[in-house]
Every structure is written in C-alpha cells, then in structure tokens.
C-alpha cells in the first residue's frame, strides 16, 4: 500500500474555471483529501434587480459561455412563469431544437477536446493532431455543425438573441430548416465514427463505482432536456419526482470551509447531476439510435461509475441529432411564424428549470406589476456536483492507496474524475497575453 502521498494540483487543467485537488497521506494515514473550489462568488442575482423582464435573460445568459442557451431558456421560462406568459408549441419545439444544439456542442467539446487526451495518453488535444488527425478533424467538423445549428435557431450559439419571453422573435425559414436537416443527416457518419472512437478508447476509462443519488429533469413526454419535473433515482432504482417549484427542498444548499461554492444534497450525502444522471433517470425516453449507442458503448442504467459521464454525453449527442431531425420535420410540416415578446398577464414569483450540459439548472425571479425584476436566484449544476466529487474522492483515494498507485497515477486518476463531471466552475476572463517576437 502506498504510504506517503502529497498531491497539490492548483488550477486543474481542462476544466472550465479554477479548482484544486489536495491530497496528503503520511504513513498510510489520509490527513487531507479535498476538492477545493476557491473562486469568488460573482453575484449575478444582483445584476438582474431593477431590470425589465425583456432584459433579464440577456443578462443571465452571460453567466456562462457554454451554457448560455440553457441560462437563457431557464431565465425566460421562469420569467414566463412569473408573468403568466404562455408559449406556443412552435416556440417549444424551436427551443428544444436550440437546447439540443447546445448540449451536442458542449458534449462534443468535452469528449473530444477535454477528455480524449486523457484516454489517449496525451497531455492535451494538440498531440492528437499528429497521432489521431482524423479524430481531431472530425471534432472540429462536429463543433462547426453544432455552432451553425445553434446560430440558426438562437441568432448566435453563444448568448442567443432570438429567445424572448413569449416565444422566438426571429425564426428560421423553411429553407434554412431543411438545410439544417441536411447537415444533421450528413453528420451521421461522423456520429458513427465518434462511437467507434469512444468504443476504442473506453477500455482506458477507469473502473470505479460509487453508488449515489442521481437528479435530473424528467418527463413522461420526452428525455426532459427542456422541461419536466425534478426526478431523483437512487442506486436501487427507486425514483421520486418533485415539482420544480420545490427545488430548494431538493438542493438543500449548504456551505463548507474548503469551497466558496455551495454544496447540495438530497436523500443521500450527495447527489450527481449531468449526462449520467439524466441517462440513469430517463433512459427509457432516449431515441432508439441513442439506446443502440449506449449498448455499443457498454452503458446501461443505473450506471454508478462517474467516469462514464463522458460516455453518457456521447449517447446524448446521438439523441440530440436524431430528436432534432424529428423536430425539424414537425416544424417543416406546420411552418414557422414570428412570436415576439409577449405582455405579462400577472406578476409575482416564477421558478423554472432546464437541463444544461452539466446538469439541472434552476432560475427563480420575482417581478413587480411593471414587469421589473425585484430579485432572483440561480442554482447551477456544477455547484450541485461539487459535493458528489468530494464524496467520490473520499472513496477513490483509499482504493488507489490500497492498489499501491504512485503519486502521479493518483493525481491523474483524480484529475480525470473531476474532468469527467465536466465542471464549469466559472467563465473566466478571456484576454490575450502576448510578447512580440518580431
């Protein structure tokens, strides 16, 4: 058994934001084993106070450069809930199409750019250009497809402009929808090749099981990415649903000394959100092609290996492409029309949720009679996963020590575990920092 270990990973690579891994083991005794989140809170909720209801989603969209669609949709849904605004079936379908684009875009990025290097034994995606050039080229093709997909529906992929309380203010033409359908169909060979690549790399996914509670949106109508009730599934398959309005009773936020981000828990000591949680909750609602993909990749509910979250993401990409083809066909059949900003019919509190790539997202707002926001609350999925990551660490580290793993092997295993959750700790700054060489 490994007796002395000191792991101090500050600023973990290939995750979105800043997180630290600290493990100290002396003479076989674990003195410290922590997943730390040291980022300062950003207080987005204060930024929406005093804002007109037409502006709120534009502001909260800026919370995240990857989940901007999800924040926009959760925001407009909560605003519509508070102000008594209904949307049409057309708007719901367009929003679902946009949601699929975001999930696929983020999952492609995570699987190909952030996780594949681990499974291929490379430090980053750049060496893969030499060793797996077709894989990298395929990743960039799929990224481009998702960008065009989201831009068509949302006006732009990052921070969409078309989604407003009441509908979708700018809609694609039938011709544009038909072209999108053609692009999605043309991408099927790349999807199939993606599954083959993941299947080839899957043996390198660590074997680690820690049963936990899995929470996501769930619906009797579909896979629940856009709408549904909160659902919990326990490792024994027991399921329970909760109204979205009761999200605080499910999330039960609390603070811990090691993290500036709040932790959450429900029935067990912690719970997981994200693609694997959705898969475990909603497997039956996947399209047949996605179920076949899951079978091909050896994923079946209830999967309790957190490293398999990336595999669940790939299955969801397949689901998103095929479900989008259905949505496009239905929209082409009915045609699409403009559905601009709607007027409030009441005011008060609204609470809504959507699934974003990293899990279930909650937005809550209070509005006055003038449609001015008086306050808000957002609980993002990455925060819901921090506690689960810590509990994974608590089980995994003793297993790694018992298996006599060296410090570097342990460090990589822990880094890969965190990366598997695809954490989106914050949108950091973006600026360049260069020196001139000529």
């Amino acid at each position: 058994m490994t007796s002395t270990v000191h792991i101090d990973v500050h600023h973990l690579t290939r995750v979105e934001g800043h997180g630290n891994i600290i493990v100290n083991v002396t003479d076989g005794a674990i003195e410290k084993c922590e997943w730390q989140v040291p980022e300062a809170p950003r207080f987005f909720e204060s930024m929406v106070r005093g804002r007109h209801y037409s502006e709120v989603a534009r502001i909260t969209s800026r919370i995240c450069g990857i989940c901007a669609v999800g924040h926009t949709l959760a925001s407009v849904k909560a605003t519509e809930d508070a102000l008594g605004i209904e949307i049409s079936e057309q708007s719901r379908k367009l929003r679902e199409l946009l949601k699929h684009a975001e999930n696929a875009d983020s999952h492609v990025l995570h699987a190909y750019i952030l996780v594949a290097p681990d499974l291929a034994g490379a430090p980053s995606v750049f060496p893969l250009v030499e060793t797996m050039p077709e894989v990298v080229a395929r990743a960039l093709r799929l990224k481009r497809l998702c960008h065009e997909w989201g831009s068509l529906i949302g006006g732009r992929t990052t921070h969409p402009t078309t989604v407003v309380p009441g509908g979708i203010a700018e809609v694609p033409t039938n011709k544009e929808l038909a072209e999108l359908k053609q692009k999605l169909v043309a991408a099927v060979p790349d999807l199939e090749a993606t599954l083959e690549t993941v299947a080839a790399l899957a043996p390198n996914i660590p074997a680690f099981d820690r049963p936990t509670e899995y929470i996501g949106l769930s619906s009797d109508e579909d896979y629940g990415l856009y709408d549904g009730q909160i659902q919990s599934v326990l490792p024994d398959g027991t399921k329970q649903r909760y109204p979205v309005a009761d999200y605080r009773l499910v999330t039960n936020e609390f603070v811990v000394p090691q993290s500036t981000a709040k932790y959450t828990k429900n029935k067990l000591d912690s719970y997981a959100a994200g693609a694997l949680a959705r898969f475990n909750n909603n497997y039956d609602m996947l399209v047949p092609q996605a179920k076949q993909a899951a079978e091909m990749l050896g994923l079946q509910p209830i999967c309790t290996n957190p490293y398999m979250n990336t595999v669940a993401q790939v299955v969801e990409v397949v689901h998103s492409v095929y479900d989008s083809l259905r949505l496009i066909d239905e929209l082409l059949e009915t045609g699409v029309k403009l559905e601009p900003l709607a007027q409030p019919t009441k005011h008060g509190r609204g609470i809504q949720s959507v699934e974003v790539p990293r899990g279930i997202l909650f937005h809550e707002y209070d509005y006055d009679a003038a449609g001015t926001c008086q306050g808000g609350n957002c609980i993002i999925p990455t925060n819901q996963n921090h506690n689960n990551i810590q509990h994974d660490f608590d089980v995994l580290v003793p297993q790694l020590l018992a298996a006599d793993k060296g410090e570097k092997e342990m460090e990589l295993a822990l880094e890969m575990l965190v990366r598997a959750y695809d954490p989106c700790i914050s949108c950091s700054t973006h600026h360049l920092d260069v020196t001139f060489v000529r």
């Binding site: 290939r14 990025l109 750019i113 980053s124 960039l140 973006h430 600026h431 000529r438």
Partner: protein, 151 residues
C-alpha cells in the same frame, strides 16, 4: 466573406472590449462589406469562420501588450508568442491564437488573419468598460473596419 470577430467576457470589465466593438459596429450600421460576429468567450467557434471561402478575419480582443491602457495594436499571429497560461484548452479560456494553431495543424485553410489587441485597464468582475477604453470605441471600430476592408 470577411469577418470581424469580437471576443471577451461581457461581465469582466475591459475583457469585453472586443464584444463592445462589435456591438458598436452593428448598432451604427457600420458592418458593410464584412460580417461582425460576437463569439464572447467561445473562441473555439473561430474554426467555423476559417476556410477557403473566407477572405479575411480580424479578431478584436483585449490583450496585454505592454501599452498604455486603451492603446491598441493590430498584429499577425506570427508576430507574437502567447504568454497566456491556460488552465486548459476550453471554451471559457480559449486563446484565439491557440485555436488558430489547432486549426492550422488540423489542415484548415487559414485566411489572412489578424488580431486587434486593445490594452485593458481593468479586467475584473462587472459590466462596462473603463473610461480610457470605452471612450475610444468609435476609433477602435474605425481602425478595425479600415484594416478589414482595406486588405
């Protein structure tokens, strides 16, 4: 097609100057002869604008260049070495120069490509630009347009 692409985090002060330049251009109807695009922090989506059909790309972004805050310089990628220490290659922290390197090595046809780097004063949480940066938006826009349309 020519593209003027603004990058930056809208909620990080002067980091968002590229986004504000795009907004200024579009709001004033100055996007003639090119398309102005805001990619926010999602620099990896730059690859969507690279290819044989693209005539030119100008990225406008905040950049630490050793200049006075608010001053700017237009440069080609091969004129500089990036000093940015990335936590990872991701959409949140994407470095457009790294994205270009990835696209080039993956076989993409890289069109004429330049970066307009604007020295920030304050990159910190909050909306809005510092006065020494925000007051110069019209001149940044004019310089960017002149560069892009004059190629």
């Amino acid at each position: 097609m020519r593209y003027l692409i603004g990058l930056g985090n809208y909620l990080a002060g002067d980091d968002a100057v590229g986004v504000h330049v795009v907004e200024h251009i579009v709001a004033n109807g100055l996007d003639r002869g090119f398309t102005a695009v805001e990619l926010a922090t999602n620099a990896l989506n730059l690859v969507s604008y690279l290819g044989p059909e693209t005539e030119a790309v100008l990225v406008v972004d905040a950049a630490y260049l050793g200049l006075e805050p608010g001053d700017y310089r237009v440069f080609a990628p091969d004129e500089v070495e990036t000093q940015k220490e990335l936590a990872g290659f991701s959409t949140h922290e994407g470095d457009p120069l790294k994205v270009l390197e990835l696209a080039r090595s993956a076989g993409y046809t890289i069109p004429p490509f330049a970066v307009m780097g604007i020295q920030p004063l304050a990159v910190e949480h909050g909306t809005g630009l510092s006065a020494c940066v925000g007051d110069r938006l019209p001149s940044y826009a004019a310089a960017a347009i002149e560069h892009l349309t004059g190629l």
